[in-house]
Symmetry: C2
Subunit: 346 residues, 2 copies
């Protein structure tokens, strides 16, 4: 075992999951936290002013993420946009309507106020687009060399519809798996920016709010079982979490997975698999087979789901495992991201 924090503990893959289990859940675990959903679901009883699970009061969704991306500004976005979209999306894929955000800033002494201002403007635009209000904040400063320009932690509150219950435990054999668009765009943009690699067609992060897409999807298809945003660790890690939590197997068809040509080239050049690369404006949805085509149609009509595709299905075999039929016909097991890949992608 490790005695010190490794970069891989922030990867969103195996090491992240292990640290969360061994250090955090071992001590802090409770029914809500240990379910490891994108957002916690909390019930508030307006009558008694006491917390009260599964009663008549509104159920709220609650989620947090820190953002430490480097560089701060990249093609398609910046740390501010990411900080709003990331938290909005964790609420949205939980099936909730995102309403309110908090933002806590850890600034490094010497950071340019002008850059901070650009980030704040970008956050405001992102809030406006997503229809959320930033209602509380915090500002701390650390001495030069003890931080890295700016870290932002956003926390979000959303509201659940009365009788909706999405969960990463809900996938059932026979269900179909849809991805809302091309994969790997965000991660490859950050990596190639950092490595100073230029591609003929410029890469661009997919960072975007998904709450309008999820609203339309849930209105059209109330039978949706699970949604999840495949951020750090990519589609592979998300699907492995799903297979474990729902105690099912997952079968994928590589040929059906949408990957932009320029992402594909960048991945080849850096020796990476797009299945492990982070996304910031995509979701995975699990839906009963009979509703799959109508959901896909609705998604494709939405600007955030234009390239949506069915990429596989939930099976009763190989419980807890993700197996992919590859382009050349063979089958391979797709595991969670194991190493570090790349730190500070979000």
């Amino acid at each position: 075992q490790y005695e010190r924090v490794l970069l891989g503990h922030g990867s969103g893959g195996k090491l992240s999951a292990d640290l969360i289990q061994r250090v955090f859940l071992a001590e802090l675990g409770n029914e809500v936290l240990s379910s490891l959903e994108d957002s916690a679901t909390l019930s508030l009883d307006s009558q008694t002013n006491l917390p009260n699970h599964r009663n008549s009061g509104p159920r709220i969704a609650f989620t947090t993420d820190s953002f430490v991306v480097k560089p701060l500004f990249f093609p398609g976005g910046d740390i501010g946009k990411l900080a709003v979209h990331g938290t909005v999306n964790d609420l949205a894929v939980a099936g909730a309507t995102p309403l309110y955000l908090s933002a806590a800033f850890i600034l490094e002494e010497g950071f340019a106020i002008e850059s901070l201002q650009r980030i704040v403007v970008s956050m405001r635009q992102a809030c406006d687009e997503a229809g959320v209000t930033l209602v509380t904040g915090d500002t701390k400063v650390v001495d030069r060399g003890k931080g890295d320009e700016v870290f932002i932690t956003t926390t979000g509150i959303g509201l659940h519809a009365a009788n909706r219950e999405l969960s990463i435990r809900n996938a059932r054999p026979g269900d179909q798996i849809i991805v809302s668009g091309t994969i790997g765009d965000h991660g490859m943009t950050i990596m190639s920016t950092r490595e100073g690699i230029e591609f003929e067609t410029a890469l661009e992060s997919d960072t975007a709010p998904l709450n309008d897409l999820t609203r339309v999807m849930l209105d059209a298809c109330p039978s949706i079982r699970v949604m999840r945003d495949p951020t750090r660790g990519g589609v592979s890690s998300t699907l492995n979490e799903l297979a474990t939590a729902s105690k099912v197997g997952i079968s994928l068809d590589e040929a059906s997975i949408p990957v932009r040509a320029e992402v594909h080239s960048a991945c080849e050049m850096l020796g990476l698999d797009p299945m492990y690369v982070a996304n910031e404006g995509k979701l995975i949805v699990v839906v009963p087979e009979q509703d799959c085509q109508s959901l896909l149609t609705v998604m494709k009509q939405h600007s955030r789901g234009r390239d949506a595709a069915v990429i596989g299905s939930v099976v009763a075999d190989h419980t807890g495992m993700v197996v992919m039929r590859s382009l050349i016909g063979g089958q391979r097991v797709v595991t969670m991201l194991a190493g570090e890949q790349l730190p500070r992608i979000c």
Copy 2:
């Protein structure tokens, strides 16, 4: 004006207030955020699933703080306790019952897992004591030299009683001002630990949850106008914020302000005024004169309010200013903390 972030922007004094106004509120300002309360108050309408101010649904309190204290462990507490208490207290002084927390960790590569574990154990104990549940989290890792062991951002959700409306704008001439105990303990503990100064009687941080004290206070005295936790910037900065927001003057009596002998000595040695030093387990409360003595009695019966004292009153004169009658009889204006004092106190 400044072009770069200064340490003083994290002091909780004038520079902090200026940065929040100029950079954050200028762009992100809205009715809730711009009121600059310890917690945002949000109304959720359980019927329509839409945000709706001042309606029948429950009103929730929402607040966030990042913690970057150095050293991580200090007499009386550690960064984990502080991260729980700080957010619990911002909910409590808003008059809300703290219920749920999120915690986002930014870990530096190489940080010892054992230290992280100690912090997590400490957070769990603090959550148990305060009666709150940690329901969601996040874990990011930054490369060595780009962070400082661990930063923690906690965000809290609390519930307001049906018709309670505390606000920093509510102080009225004639009201009395009470502090719940000795001031400067937390800040002087951190500073003397960092400077390697040892005092005959060991200093200890006052970090503590205040939600049980506030509950008892509000039950006994529903007329309470304002509560506030004088953290960064100390009692002086908090009272200046109060004077400005309520458009009143504040008169203080130096002789009545409780300061521990060892804090007093440490302050003298380092040339500091305890009025500007951070507290992490104290509150300031403003109460109509007729209820002051009964509230004080209730506070003194509580373990967190044993040393409570009336320190001054709200006046119609010198609006926006805090004036103190000093020990030797003269009057002086007590301004907000102006410089940097000490970074990373919480």
